[in-house]
Symmetry: C2
Subunit: 277 residues, 2 copies
C-alpha cells in the first residue's frame, strides 16, 4: 500500500478540486492505481458537469459574486458604507504605504508607466477617503470596499495575479475597543462566508508590522490597527481598525477546494469547475 | 442678458453636477453673475452633503453598485448566467479581435508587458468561454459579465480610464430573430437603468463594423451580431447577438449629471458627490 498518484494524476486532481480522501489514496500496484484514477476522474468530471448545470439552471452566478453580495448585505446592515475606488493608483500613494523600491511588496507591483500601477491592496485609497470623510461624517467612519487587487505572485495553489479583496475599516473608535472590535468584524465576515473553527494569530505584516491574522490552515485575512506610523503620511490621528480578506481564499476553504485559481476570475474555470472537462 | 459663467465657474458647476437650468443662466452684469454663482454653488454643496448623508444613513452603496445589482437580478431572471473573467488579457486574444498595432483602439490599450494588457472590452473573454460552453450547455448560450475595462481615453466629461462595462451575449439563436432580440435586450437594460426615450441608431464600430447603438444624447451602448468575420478566429459558427453598455454613462444620463467621472471609481467623488465640498 505504498504506491501513490503520479505527478500528472496529482495535477489533474488539483485541477478537478479532488477531495482530501481522493488525494491521499494509496495502492498495492500501479495497475490498481491507474484503474482507480480513471474511476475517480470520471466521478469528478461528472460532479463538475453537475455543478455547471446547477449554475446554468438555478444558481446563475458564480460563488464569488454570491459571496460578495452576502458580504455587502452583512456589512451595510452593520452600518458600513460601500465605496468603489480606482484600481489604477499612483506611485506616490503606494510610497505613502511605505511600499517603495526597497520594499518586499514592490517587486510584485504591476506598473503601467513610471507613475501609475495596479493597486496591490485597497488600503491607500481607503486612507485617502478617510481624510475627506472625516470632514463630512461623524466618527466612527465605517467604510469598506470589495474589489480586484493585483500582485505578481509566483503562481501556486494559493496565489493569484488578480484577486478579490475585501477591506473593511472603522476610523475613530475608542482605542481600548480596537482588539474586541477586530474580533467582532472577523467573526462577521467568517460567519457570512460560512467558515467556522478559524484562529486569530499574531503575526508580522510587511506593510503594517505586527498584525492579527485570520487563519484556517492558510491565511484568510489580515488586520491592523492605528494609531500607526503610516497614519502621519495621510494626516490621520484617530484610532482605527482595518481588516482585509481574500475572497477567493474564503471560498477555497469553505468549499474544501484545492486551488484558489478555480474560485477567481478565470477563463479556465467557471464557478470552480475546470472547463476542459 | 448676455453675460455667462466664467470658465472657472463652469468647471466648478461641472464638478458639482449642476443642472442644465443652472448651467444656462445669463446675466446683465458680472456682479449679478458672481452673486448668483455664490448662491447656486452654496445650494449645490448643500445638495451634495445631503446626498452623502443619505448614502451614510440609508443607501449605504454608491449608485454604480446598486445599478450593477439590479442588472444582475434582471438578467439572471431572464436566463442569463453571470461570468467573471480576468481583467489582464493576452496580446493574442486582443489580436483575435483584430485589435493589432495598426488599429485605432490599439493606442488606447494599457500594456503591462509585451504580452499582457488590461482588457479594453469584455468581448474576447466571452468569446473564449462560448467555445467551452458550447460543449457543456445547450444552445442558446446566454452569459453576461459586468466588470472594469480600461482605455487610455483623452480625459473628458464622457470618458474614463477605467469604466464599468456590462456585456450580455446570446449565442445560438435563430438568425432571423437577432434584430428583434437585440431590441428586447436593449429595452431590458434601459428599463432596469430607468432610462426612457432612447434611440437605436445604425453606426460603424471600429471592432465590429456595422452595429446598432443605443443612444440618448450620447452613446450608451453598442451592439453587434454574428455570424461575423471575427468568429472564425474563435471557432464560432452559430448566430449570436451581443450588446455592451458603459454603466457610468447610464447613471450619468439617468441622473442628468454633467460628468461621467462622478459616477465611476473615484477618490474625488463618492456616489457622484465631489468630496472637496
Amino acid at each position: 500500500m505504498n504506491i501513490t498518484w503520479t505527478l500528472i494524476q496529482k495535477q489533474r486532481f488539483q485541477e478537478l478540486n479532488a477531495s482530501v480522501a481522493q488525494r491521499e489514496m494509496c495502492f498495492e500496484s500501479q495497475q490498481d492505481r491507474d484503474r482507480v484514477f480513471q474511476e475517480q476522474e470520471r466521478i469528478l468530471v461528472q460532479q463538475g458537469k453537475l455543478r455547471l448545470k446547477e449554475l446554468h439552471d438555478t444558481k446563475k452566478r458564480p460563488s464569488l459574486c454570491v459571496l460578495e453580495q452576502k458580504l455587502v448585505e452583512a456589512l451595510t446592515q452593520k452600518g458600513f458604507v460601500q465605496v468603489i475606488t480606482p484600481t489604477i493608483i499612483s506611485k506616490g500613494s503606494l510610497a505613502k504605504m511605505s511600499v517603495a523600491d526597497d520594499h518586499p511588496l514592490f517587486s510584485q507591483v504591476f506598473w503601467l508607466d513610471t507613475k501609475r500601477c495596479l493597486r496591490p491592496m485597497l488600503a491607500p485609497n481607503l486612507y485617502t477617503l478617510w481624510k475627506d470623510l472625516l470632514r463630512l461624517w461623524e466618527k466612527p467612519i465605517r467604510i469598506f470596499e470589495i474589489g480586484t487587487c493585483y500582485r505578481k505572485e509566483s503562481k501556486g495553489a494559493l496565489h493569484l495575479n488578480e484577486f478579490t479583496m475585501l477591506n473593511l475599516t472603522e476610523l475613530g473608535l475608542p482605542e481600548d475597543q480596537r482588539q474586541q472590535r477586530l474580533e467582532e468584524l472577523a467573526a462577521l465576515v467568517m460567519d457570512t462566508a460560512g467558515i467556522t473553527d478559524y484562529q486569530l494569530e499574531l503575526t508580522t505584516s510587511v506593510v503594517y508590522g505586527d498584525t492579527l491574522d485570520v487563519v484556517k490552515g492558510i491565511e484568510l485575512g489580515s488586520s491592523a490597527m492605528g494609531p500607526h506610523p503610516l497614519d502621519d503620511q495621510w494626516g490621520i490621528t484617530d484610532p482605527w481598525v482595518g481588516i482585509g480578506f481574500g475572497l477567493e481564499r474564503l471560498l477555497m476553504i469553505k468549499e474544501e477546494a484545492q486551488n484558489v485559481q478555480s474560485m477567481g476570475r478565470s477563463l479556465t474555470y467557471l464557478d470552480s469547475v475546470r472547463l476542459n472537462i
